[in-house]
């Protein structure tokens, strides 16, 4: 970890249309967890403008198909993209962590009690650190959809992404979706972002050229964090 040069970027007022609200009644568990008082504006100080920056990860930590004795079940995919600021400049040295359900839509977690099978060859978690171009990549399998407990709706296939660094302001956790998924239209979490264009930025681009010919399909998903370049 290293401190980031706070002089490199500034953070003008946020584009709040990008995010969902705290309270979105269709996603029932927001009802008791959404703060009632509006958040207090905080002029950024060194506390918010700094954050951890990570050294390059270990090779292979971004390959979720090599976590067992043999290959996991599922449609093999490569997901690639760049972590960028709002001027399109790369965020280098950001930690990108990704996790997901297996091909049957089951997570390797004690609290996922649904009667779907675990895959002994799939853990479903990986990480990498962005390079000088802000690029990251993961090799994995397409996750399955799954029904939300005690609800009528299903989660569409999705990958969870966490991007840490280089400032508290830019920290982001989000989800990547797949183009053309019919479950998106009824997903209360995806639809929690009111602005359609903002919502659709969470859908990866089908990019077969990014896959390995005859082996995996490619998807492209750029992640844009807050921050603009100083002149």
């Amino acid at each position: 970890m290293a401190n980031h040069d706070t002089g490199e970027r500034y953070f003008p007022a946020d584009d709040e249309t990008a995010d969902p609200p705290y309270l979105h009644a269709d996603y029932g568990s927001t009802v008791k967890k959404s703060p009632a008082r509006p958040p207090i504006p905080l002029e950024h100080t060194i506390t918010e403008l700094t954050g951890p920056v990570f050294e390059a990860g270990q090779a292979g930590e971004n390959d979720l198909t090599q976590q067992g004795g043999s290959l996991p079940i599922g449609e093999r995919i490569d997901v690639r993209g760049r972590v960028l600021d709002e001027d399109g400049n790369p965020y280098a040295g950001a930690l990108v962590e990704m996790w997901q359900a297996n091909a049957a839509g089951k997570y390797r977690h004690l609290n996922d009690g649904r009667d779907a099978p675990l895959d002994p060859n799939f853990i479903g978690a990986g990480r990498c650190v962005t390079d000088a171009d802000g690029a990251y990549s993961f090799k994995t399998i397409r996750p399955g959809a799954y029904p939300v407990p005690d609800s009528e709706w299903w989660r569409p296939a999705h990958l969870h992404f966490s991007v840490t660094g280089p400032s508290v302001v830019a920290r982001l956790i989000t989800q990547m979706y797949f183009p053309g998924d019919p479950l998106l239209g009824a997903d209360a979490i995806y639809k929690s972002i009111a602005d359609q264009e903002a919502r659709e930025r969470l859908i990866a681009r089908f990019a077969p050229e990014l896959g390995e010919r005859g082996r995996s399909l490619g998807y492209e998903f750029d992640i844009v964090l807050r921050g603009r370049a100083r002149d």
Binding site: M1, Y27, G51, N111, A125
Partner: protein
Amino acid sequence: MTRKRTGSQTIGPFFNVALLREDDSDLTRRTPGGPQAEGEVIEIRGRVTDGDGAPCPSVLVEAWQADAAGHHGTEGDPNFAGFGRAVTDNDGCYQLATVMPGPVPGKGNSWQAPHISLSLFGSGLLKRVTTRAYFPDQDMNTEDPVLSAISDGSVRSTLIAKSLNSGNPRKFEFNIVLQGPGETAFFDL
């Protein structure tokens, strides 16, 4: 080229295997078993509750702070992690080990009292909530520009941890109320 930023989505309940590593909740060492950072080792623990007062399990509590001398990241103590993560248990409780941060510069000539930035992610939180934990019995709190800007004393007091002992290490309690009576002061970054 200008790009519009990517929106937030909930962390959901199943992040542990991806986001948590050994000793992530111990900021006092950069690497497990490595040398200990300079400064007074302290513990911070607390409970995260919802609008019904019910505990919130599986909430990721992420901490970022200055070292004992008030420096962040590589400008500071090479043995201090600065960044840490803890997850709430079934009772909604989290625990962090760290060192007492030093004061850090604020705007202009001002100084900020010792504090820890906390971001919380959880199921039912479509985007994080961000707050700060300050410490009791710090004279600097009265001059702190962030605390001073909050006029309602009952709101401001939610940012001050409670002292749990006078022993060594000192322990502090910082509870986080997501909604309703006693709701924690959260910040818009």
